[in-house]
Amino acid sequence: MGTTFILFLSASIFSIGAIGFLIRKNPLVMFMCVELMLNAVNLVLVAYSKFLQSMDGQVFALIIMTVAAAEVVVGLAIILTIFRTRHELNVDHIDVLKG
């Protein structure tokens, strides 16, 4: 498996995540899409780490995963609270913060 293949795979996963984020209305699914995008990036970082014989990429991947985990905690807590107060989960209806 060459680096090219991994880059194509990563690009595909990123696009799936981006499109999913744009077209789905359920915040949970959107969240998963965000994770897809993040991990697509991780894949690229790890691939390049191997390609360039440098550990920097793997370190970055670890940092991104840590941040992503922390972010999921906050995000899920918010989603949970919204569901408890509104009894529904549709991002198009959550538009209180408009200018």
Partner: protein, 623 residues
Amino acid sequence: MYPHAWLILILPMLGFIFLSWYGKRVSKTVAGFIGCATIGVAFLITLTLLAGLLISDPAERVGNVQVAYSWLNMQTFHLDLAILVDPLSVFMLLVITGVGFLIHVYSVGYMSEDPEYARFFSYMNFFIFSMSLLVLAADFFFLIVGWAMVGLASYLLIGFWTHKTSAVLAARKAFVMNVIGDVGMVIAAFMIYDHFGSISYAEVFSAAPAKFMANDVDILLITLFLLVGAFAKSAQIPLHTWLPDAMEGPTPVSALIHAATMVTAGVYLIARCNVLYMLAPYTLFLIASVGVLTALFAGAMGMVQYDIKRVIAYSTMSQLGYMFLAVGVGVFSVGMFHLMTHAFFKALLFLGAGSVIHSLHEEQDIRKMGGLARPMPITFATFLIASLALTAFPLTAGFYSKDAIIMHSYFSEYGNFVFWGLALLGAGMTGFYTFRLFFYTFLGKSRSPEAHPHESPWVMVVPLMILAFLSLFAGHLAGWVNEFLAPVFGGHVPHAPHDSIMEATAITVSLLGIVSAIGLYLTGKNQLEFVKTVGAPLYDLMLNKFYIDELYNFFITKPMRVIGKFFEQRAEREGIDFAIDMVGDQVREVSRQISVLQSGKVRWYAFNTVAGLILVLVFVIFL
């Protein structure tokens, strides 16, 4: 040589600071004690200064400058924080702290019922501090600082009873009038710096005679601008209208500030700058003319007023006119001597009036007084002495000072027959209005039967007696004062030749004034009505103070209002406000349209992010 002179400034300042910070927390006794004690000690220090000057050689009495430190030191401008101890400043300090101390003691009794007792004494101490600074200043800078601060003290004390609208308005009027004078002073100071490169008295006065010829335009301008300040402070025509209104303040304030000390600052200023004024005989002529005219007009207005304090206020203006006449004809020490005797008997008159007002529960209309001689014997006696001194009755203090002025107004180098005649006429008026007031107040039957007048407490009566003593006997100091002040005035000791006929005329005219007051107010009411009907137009004019207030109102205040209204409407509302509002409206409109982008919808934001990303990619890759 006299470093302790600083204490004269420091003590009243400390009293002022203490009473403003802790005045509400200490008892009235403590507040009154601090107010009086600081001034009393300052007076004692002044006496030591006087003693120091007297034992020193006459040549060394002038120019004792005490420098505390160099305050400003620039290439072209140098200013020390310094005071000047010389016969003139010590002479003024004696009057300020001496009469000031007596009036402070009197105030302990007069203000005893007032809830704002401590505030009153803190302002009074502040005034003494400012006035001492004014006379002790060794340069024009601190002179102007003191000049402005006595104006502030006057403003605060005239408007002391803040619940009285008339008092607040009078305070404002006095302040505005005084600021006109301050502006004149500042301009004069700039001009002096421009010509001399310095504003310290010593340098300016020593350089002036070599620098200017008599009646040079520049020296005339300098003296005239200084004169604006002097006229405003000393209530001379045309800047006199604030003084009668200033009577809205408590009576001790009228006695201290608006009779004995602050209003005489103008005379002091001219005496202090005598070197400059001697170089400007035209200005001297103007001073003498304005002085004698003020003496006449103020006397005329005083003859018909019914408010006890206003009558005395007009009399003050009139006597200030005499002082200006004296310095205007070049006999500075005679003017200063009248300043001193006037401080005694005018303070006494005001304090006596205060005693009357106090015992009649704030009644100031002399038509409602009368018959007070029996219930208030000491006030009656001291008021009589003050009245006699004011009318220059022979052997009282006023006789020596005022008659000297009248004599010099003819015999002096700058005097002439017209000054003499007008001064004489003013003296007759003085006799008339003083005794009219006296008869109204103390003689006849009581005109308000429900009142129960009583003699004032000792703390008020004792200062009256001391001042009465001074009003009777201070006249004998005339020769000494002239000698003592001579070093400041270039060693000039004025001597008027004895002319028994002219002296007799002066005495006769004064007595004539008294006699006509007796004729009109003691013996016959019919004559009074007759005079009022015959002289109706003149009487009307005098009663309305020659319509000068109305004149100012019509020619200055009203046009100012109209201009102000115009600019408020056209410039402010339709110009500035409109422009600012328009900018604000436009910004708000644009933001409202842009804010559509912030829909609050997450997917819309996400779409924009992705679209932006793609755009950037396209830009980077293909362009």
